[in-house]
Structure formats: structure tokens, C-alpha cells
Symmetry: C2
């Protein structure tokens, strides 16, 4: 079957212990090192991480759990996380849970049985019950993008409420009074916070009565439908859309109704909406520091694995 450390021992005339020392930075004579390396090459040896992990209780692997793997925002974060982690010698196992709390629980068990050293999660379950099993097993958890009620977890989020408030204020400064919010399920942390920021801005501007909210799925279609509903009902002067996919959908819906977002009406979306900008030069967006989010998440999980405490980190979004 597969080549083991024993075969390397036989090939080189050394013992397994020496080979192991070689792999783990122990002191090995240079000419023995050379022999070992030769044998590895010749035999095509690949280390069995199962055996290793069984001994060490370490996998040098981080579990990553996303609501949806085909979601641009999530994968952009993860892309950066993976990069940072790789440089520290860690790999990642990615799972998605299709935005289902039940699957989130299953996936966490799956990841734990893979002996991950830590977990980076965009949590679906706000109470973070699903992460309990991890905590129980001494596996540290970093929640990204969404805050949970569990103080054992680290959190890396953006200043959702404040950024949204500023964003809406910007629409107000430009003269809009009837600003409709399109936010998706308010029980989701980000949606709730962003809507709250919208409300604060409206209230402080004395526009409390103009607060309008349209629900919808966190998808292009969801944003499309919600915007259509809003624009057909009460012609708004501006739209505040609190998520990337929904922003794209909302711009499409407006266009289909003959309304240019950012031109005929004010428009504040979220994340990287540059693709659409040539067609709607006036649109604005809250830009989350996605790369930093991913990098900081990686740093935080490493720090926790090394025994550091749970942290709460808030990054600032920018409006462009």
C-alpha cells in the first residue's frame, strides 16, 4: 500500500524516530538529511496526517463555515483568510450550510470530527448554539461578519450601524427625503444593524415618518422583487440597499422600470457594485474592507489557538 515512515527507515537504514525528527525540525546529520530526502523522492512518500494528528491532537487545519459557498462576499473573505493561514502552515476545510441552522450544526460536527484546530464561521445561528460543541471540545471559534451573543467567540465585524447611518445621511444631504430601505431578514445581524443605522439617520433628520422597509431574500432576485414593490408603490427619492446581491437586483429592477439608480433616484448599495457603475455613474456603495476582514479573522484564530483570549474587532467601512 502507501509508503510509510517505516519504509523510509528501511530505505535509509535509520529508525522511524529519526525520520520523524527530520520532519519536526529535530537535529539530524546533514548526510542523513540528504539520504532521507532522497528516499522521500524515490518512494514518493506522503505523510499520513491521520496518524500524526492522532498523536498530536493537532491538524494544522482550520474549519471554515459559510452560509453559501457561491456567494461572492463570503468567498472574497475566505480567499484572503486562506492566503494568510497558508503562510502560517495551516490549510482550510470549507463547508457551506445553505443558510440553514440545522446544517450549520451538522457541518460543525463534521469539522470537529476532522479535528480542526479552530473554526472560522459566518454564523447562521445568532445564539451560536451550534458553536457550543466546538467550545466544549476546546476548539476556538471566530465569527466573521455577524455578531453572536456568545462571549466565548471572537468577533470580526464592521461598524454596520454607523456606516449605514453615514450612508443614509449622505443620501439625505443630497436632498433625498423619501428614502426606502431594502434589507432582507432583519433577524440576520447585518441586516438588523444596517436597518437600525438607516432608522437613526432618518430620525435624526426628522424623517421618521418616511421610514419604509422592504423585505426580500438575500439574492439578486430578492433585491429585484423588493425594489419593484417599493418603486411601484410609493415612488421613492432614494434607495438604501443593505447587501451586495440585493443591490444588484435593485438596480436592475429600477432600470426595468425606466429609472436610473443614482440618476433619477439616489442609490446607496453595499460592497463592490463597480460592475454596474458605467451604467449608473451616480450610484454609491458602502464598501466593506473585505480583505482586511479575512486577514484579521485568520490572525485572530491563530492567536486563539496559541492560547490568546477571545477578541471583538470592529473594522470601518468606507463609502464611495
Amino acid at each position: 500500500m502507501s509508503v510509510t515512515i517505516k519504509d523510509l527507515a528501511k530505505e535509509t537504514g535509520l529508525t522511524p524516530a529519526t525520520i520523524s525528527a527530520y520532519f519536526n525540525g529535530g537535529n539530524v546529520r546533514d548526510y542523513n538529511k540528504a539520504k532521507i530526502e532522497e528516499a522521500i523522492e524515490k518512494l514518493g512518500y506522503i505523510r499520513n496526517d491521520f496518524a500524526r494528528g492522532l498523536r498530536t491532537h493537532k491538524s494544522r487545519t482550520i474549519g471554515v463555515l459559510l452560509p453559501e459557498i457561491a456567494n461572492k462576499f463570503s468567498t472574497s473573505i475566505i480567499s484572503e483568510t486562506e492566503e494568510s493561514l497558508r503562510m502560517k502552515g495551516y490549510g482550510i476545510i470549507v463547508c457551506d450550510c445553505r443558510s440553514s441552522v440545522k446544517r450549520e450544526k451538522e457541518a460543525i460536527r463534521f469539522l470537529l470530527s476532522k479535528m480542526v484546530d479552530g473554526l472560522i464561521v459566518i454564523p447562521e445561528d445568532t445564539s451560536a448554539n451550534a458553536c457550543l460543541a466546538a467550545a466544549q471540545n476546546g476548539v476556538p471559534v471566530v465569527a466573521v461578519d455577524r455578531r453572536t451573543g456568545n462571549p466565548a467567540l471572537s468577533h470580526v465585524v464592521i461598524n454596520n450601524r454607523e456606516a449605514s447611518k453615514n450612508a443614509v445621511n449622505m443620501l439625505i444631504e443630497r436632498g433625498a427625503k423619501e428614502i426606502a430601505a431594502i434589507c432582507g431578514d432583519l433577524n440576520v445581524y447585518t441586516a438588523g444593524e444596517r436597518f437600525a443605522g438607516y432608522c437613526e439617520a432618518m430620525k435624526e433628520a426628522g424623517l421618521e415618518e418616511n421610514i419604509t422597509y422592504a423585505n426580500g431574500a438575500f439574492s439578486v432576485q430578492g433585491g429585484y422583487d423588493a425594489a419593484k414593490k417599493v418603486l411601484e408603490g410609493n415612488p421613492a427619492q432614494a434607495l438604501f440597499v443593505s447587501n451586495y446581491e440585493m443591490s444588484v437586483g435593485a438596480v436592475m429592477a429600477a432600470k426595468d422600470m425606466g429609472i436610473i439608480a443614482g440618476g433619477d433616484i439616489g442609490f446607496m448599495g453595499f460592497d463592490d457594485i463597480d460592475y454596474i457603475k458605467p451604467f449608473c455613474p451616480g450610484i454609491l456603495g458602502v464598501r466593506q474592507p473585505i480583505k482586511e476582514l479575512g486577514r484579521v479573522a485568520a490572525e485572530t484564530i491563530i492567536s486563539m489557538i496559541d492560547g490568546g483570549p477571545a477578541r471583538n474587532i470592529v473594522l470601518n467601512a468606507e463609502i464611495r
Copy 2:
């Protein structure tokens, strides 16, 4: 430390062997089953897949290797693959290699050391040398999207050349004669095939002299730059862009130059360009059967793990 099968044995008054039998579908008395389940719940037992894999040489895990994890096309495929695989009891480990052959090799070693039962790859290295190590270890490999020269691998691809030829023919039928291709690096399988299809169509229509090709990175920016170059030089009557991100960029570039793709000039892009359609109703796209690609890849790797032969599967793309 963590709860083991021994703890379950102690708790239930049974032996590890019986607990193991329980997990592996052996015959266990109903009231013992109940006791075991109770103990699992009470103690919060999570199976150690390292120990298990060490014994069985199976991980029930498939390694997935992508050029770029933040790429919509890749993750859309994987999303479907993961779903299918999960239903068969398999999980996935996802790596990306940043479109680097060197990293691809590293990632494959990483995945093999994690004892994956199979590999699903969007191969960066056309010769599939990187996959050699997998074959050597008896780990089956399925290449998706791009064909390699290695007959040991299964391949799941679309009819790139034919679909592209049909697509370009469609532009020709609509009256375009000066059609420029924007394809990215032609050494990449898909780009090469799609360009070949374009050339065939042009030749058969007697438009050989009009063949124009602009290179660029496989990104929005790459498509933008390439389109700008093309449109500034020799005002084309139509654009054929052979990749999703580049299609988006090309449409943006045209718009920035005051040209509406699909209106002022013919436009044939790739994949799901619906987001832009409200702004350019006339654009067309080659639609790859992404979900089917992902599902078939999953089915194929399972079949190979069960001892089946390597397969070559070609799915048809549709033009809309």
C-alpha cells in the same frame, strides 16, 4: 480531554467493539443502541476521524482544488458538487492555488496528506503532472471544466469548441462580419477551444481575414482592457468574449466608450451575464450547464472511488 469511544464503553457498560459496531451498522441490541445514543448525547461524543481513517484508510472526504476560490464560476460548480457529495456522506476540503502550477502541486500534496478519497480539480497544469502524485497513491481524480492530457483522469467538460462556433455563427447570421475575439491566455484549455471555435466559424463564413484576437487576464479588469484596446483600434461590429468575468469587463469598457453592447455592436459573452441585461438587452451569452457540471463531477468521483473506470463526459452549453 476529548471524549472517546472508551468513555462511551465505560458509561454504557459495553466494550469499544460494540460501540464501534453501533457506528458501523453492526448488529446491536435495541436497548444497547438506546444506551449508546444516550451516552453520546450526555458526553458530547464526537468521533475522531483521524483514528478511524488511520484504521480504514478512508476519509469519506473529497479534495477540491480550484484556480481561485473567489471566482463565481468555480464556486457555483462546487456548490452543486458539495450538495451531491454530502448526500452520499462525503465532505469536501477546498483549496485554491491562485492559478499557479506550483501551488497546485503543493495543494495536491496537502490534500493527499489529508487522506482524501478522491480529488476534483479544475486543473491549472494541462499536463496534469501535479495529479501524478494522486494517481500514484491510488486516489482517483476528476478534472472539471478543463481537459488535460492524462488519460488516467476523468474529465467533465462542455462542448467548448462547438458551442463557441455556434455562438459566433449566431453573430454572423445577424449580419456581423468584423467580429473580434477576447479570450485570455490561449494555453488555458477553455480559452484555446473557444478561440478555435470562433476561428472555425469565421473561416467557414469566409471571414478568415477578419479574425482578431485580444489577450487579457481572466478578470473583469482584463476584459475591460482588452475590449478597450479592440474597440479603440478597429471598430468591430461584434465582440465574442470567452469567459464570464471578461464579458462583464468588456461590456463596461464598451459603455465607457459610449457603445452599448448588444445594441450598437453585437455581443456574445459567457455564462450568467443576466445582471447586465437590463442595461444591454441585446447581449447574448453561452450558458454552461454549471449545476450539471458540478453534479456530474460528484457522481463521477464516487463511481471511480467504487472502482469504476475513468470517464470522459461532455455536456452541451446553450446560447441565450
